[in-house]
Amino acid sequence: MSTIISYGIALPHFRIEDSILNPKGKKGVMKAVCYTDEDIITLAYEATKDIPKGTIDGIFFATSTPVFQNRYHASYLADLLNLNQGILALDFTAGSRSGTDALLLAHEFIDTGKYNNILVVAADVVFPETGKELTAPFGHGVCALLLSNEKGNTEITTARSFSSALAEEFTYKLNDIQYDPRFSRDAGFKNNVSFSLKNIVKNPKTIDAVILNSLYARMAGGIFAKEGFEESQFAKDTLTSKIGNTGSAHALLLLINELENGKKNILLADYTNGTNYFEIKSTGAPKKKLLQEQLSSFDLINSYQDYLLIKKAGDFKSSQYSTKEMFSSEMMAEREKDTLLYLKGFKCEECGTIYYLKSTRCKKCKCDKFSIVQLNKTGTVYTLTNEHYFPASFPPIAMLVIDLDGGGRITVQQTDTMFPDKNNITIGSKVKLVLRKMIENDAKPNYFWKAISNE
């Protein structure tokens, strides 16, 4: 047994309607889309930053759209979160079922008693080929769950996985391979789900929400009816029309959605090339409904051209200037991590002035003794400007000089500034720092703080 003692969600702020993606698309049906400087790493950080980290002894990162090769996303995220060095950090990158794969393994690790708290993160960010936006499932989002052996309101009582040899569509050495869909659905999906369902559900009537995460979910009614389920028990996927299909994060997001809806006995089934099953018991909805909050707060992208800019062809452009080059150094990022990433400041022991950057003597009182302090990620704009000539996907870039709450001053870019008219940040505005990509063109990702409104 394991419990979900905490969770986090990160959906990008922007959504695009199907009707903008394609004239045949529906109005009101939306996909969540990353801003130009977001990716699975920044979203994963956003989803996990508020999860209590004291006793985490493992981190699993699931994605079907990895951004690194030969580098573990889980290790990288563990470092961003400043978790203990050398903790168990594994990546799950097989496909869109990897989110529940990670959950299943985390549950087993805890159940065996070897691990106490494992952070499971599922993240997917992918842009389909131009013209395939409505047929290829996509939607950007991250779900993070903290699994624990402590007692909690939400318990995973059963977790099992049933493999299937048949994947509907896969690539072999970069070649796309697809079975006849009728064959793969019957011999693959239907066969696997009905076989596994027989072996897992003892008492269907006690379940008040059945979640089936599969592109073929609609064809599964008969299979579930055979095992004694009724249609009313099915939890409809209400997320796909709001944020799209978020790949490996989707099953976990559907689970959170039902928990936030107050469902108490949940059967979660996640099918891709085999099925993962979970039975989850909850004593009631969480007080703070993080997913619902993020589902209801967004701005719409209002043209396909803006969507293309967000997708980025590769160049880093302004109206005046474009470049593929921008200096980035792994060595500097590592050496200056305490300052750059963890926001450790320096407090003058004499006059108490707090500096973001290290200095030998206090500029104010010339004292040479400093203690290290943790700076806050919220603050007030002291002064600012809009840079029209610095290359950016959506120029101008707003540069904000920010006095952080509790001390320290930092100068960073403002982000999510797709609509300059809506960027009503002025001197005195409250802002908060978010982790984003500094080099947007993906040639060499490096992550740093940018600011968004906090009012």
């Binding site: 200037y321 980035s328 500096y355 950057l357 809009n386 000539y389």
Partner: protein, 393 residues
């Protein structure tokens, strides 16, 4: 500090500033130096030591990395030649080093020459590229030079009730002055509306609030005052010389003590120079000023830092046209950086040549009447380094 020997400028030379596609870096060096040598009446072989000021060899033509790039075009060999680099204060610092060498007795005739060749590259390859592609990957990333001064403008607007019109009026004034300067890059006056409606660079600063970076060179030849031959020379005396590095590249934007209303470096440099020159009330005791108007806001702010008015009152000086030619204290009658253009290493020396011309009564149409004492000011980096020089006839 003991009383220091007076130093006299006996030779001045300046090229046209602008897009000098027909002149190379070496041509510019020769042009400015030969003018100064001819003006001084000394021969090239009398020069005992020289200083070369080029701020950005790496975004120019990769020349000016050392003193040899002065020696070669002038065939000026077998003497000490040093390259000086201190951002926009490089030229003034070359003069300071020459002055100190004369005072120390290292040489009897010293040459300081500033030169920058930026237009052999596309504009996109120059200073913007430096800010975008080089430098720290995170700290200040997103700023161009304009932005680092625009944050001062917005704070001035908030604190002192400065308006966009006040800021842009500086540009209108300097472009009018520039129309009278045959060596300026832009020789066309512009209206307030044109300045305010031109392309925004970093709000509230527009293209016409920003100086162009150009090609150009300027040169001065100096001796100790005791060596001046009044029959031969028209000497201009260096009465005060202050240079201060008061912050760094990153600190201004990360220092909670900084108010973005003043440049400490300018105040320190002015304090030193005023003390040496015995100036206590600058607005009454100085006849003309060349201020580092790389962006129009910097001129406004510098009125206050130089003590031409109290803090917060710069807007009154510009509104009352006090700093225009014919006003109480004309500022940038050359047209400033806004009109002349800004070949970074040359600008400080160009200003000294400008003031010297006024003090000699040789400034033509834009001559400040009865000019006896003038001031030049440069500010470099993000307001980090400033120089102030006081000149008298």
């Amino acid at each position: 500090m003991s009383k220091q020997a007076d130093i006299a400028i006996i030779g001045i030379g300046v090229t046209r500033f602008g897009e000098l596609f027909h002149q190379s870096y070496d041509d510019l060096v020769r042009d400015a130096a030969m003018q100064a040598v001819a003006d001084s009446g000394v021969s090239m072989d009398d020069i005992g030591a020289a200083w070369l000021s080029t701020a950005f060899p790496e975004i120019g033509v990769f020349k000016g990395r050392s003193g040899m790039d002065l020696s070669e075009p002038l065939s000026l060999y077998n003497i000490p030649v040093t390259r000086v680099s201190n951002f926009c204060a490089s030229g003034a610092d070359a003069i300071r080093n020459a002055v100190n060498s004369l005072r120390a007795g290292e040489c009897d005739v010293a040459l300081a020459l500033g030169v920058e060749k930026l237009r052999d590259r596309q504009p996109q390859d120059s200073i913007v590229k430096m800010m975008v592609e080089y430098g720290h990957p995170f700290l200040q990333k997103g700023f161009t030079a304009a932005g680092t001064f625009a944050v001062y403008a917005n704070r001035m607007i908030k604190e002192f009730g400065v308006t966009r019109e006040d800021i842009s009026t500086v540009s209108v004034k300097n472009h009018y002055h520039g129309s009278l300067n045959e060596k300026a890059f832009y020789r066309k006056p512009c209206s307030l509306e044109e300045v305010m409606k031109s392309q925004m660079v970093a709000n509230p600063l527009t293209v016409l609030d920003s100086c162009p970076t150009t090609d150009g060179a300027a040169c001065v030849i100096m001796v100790r005052a005791e060596d001046v031959d009044k029959k031969k020379h028209k000497p201009i005396y260096i009465k005060g010389l202050g240079l201060s590095v008061s912050t760094g590249w990153d600190l201004p934007f990360f220092d909670p003590n900084h108010d973005f209303l003043s440049f400490e470096a300018t105040r320190q440099a002015a304090k030193t120079a005023y003390k040496q020159a015995g100036i206590t009330n600058p607005i009454d005791e100085i006849d003309l000023v060349e201020v580092h108007d790389c962006f129009s806001i910097v001129e406004l702010l510098t009125y206050e830092d130089l003590g031409l008015c109290k803090q917060g009152e710069a807007k009154e000086l510009i509104r009352g046209k006090e700093t225009q030619l014919g006003g109480k204290i004309p500022v940038n009658v050359s047209g400033g950086l806004l009109s002349c253009g800004h070949p970074v290493g040359a600008t400080g020396i160009r200003m000294v040549v400008e003031v010297a011309n006024h003090l000699r009564g040789n400034a033509g149409e834009r001559q400040v009447k009865n000019a006896k004492r003038g001031l030049t000011h440069n500010i470099g980096g993000p307001g980090a380094i400033a120089s102030v020089i006081i000149l008298e006839n």
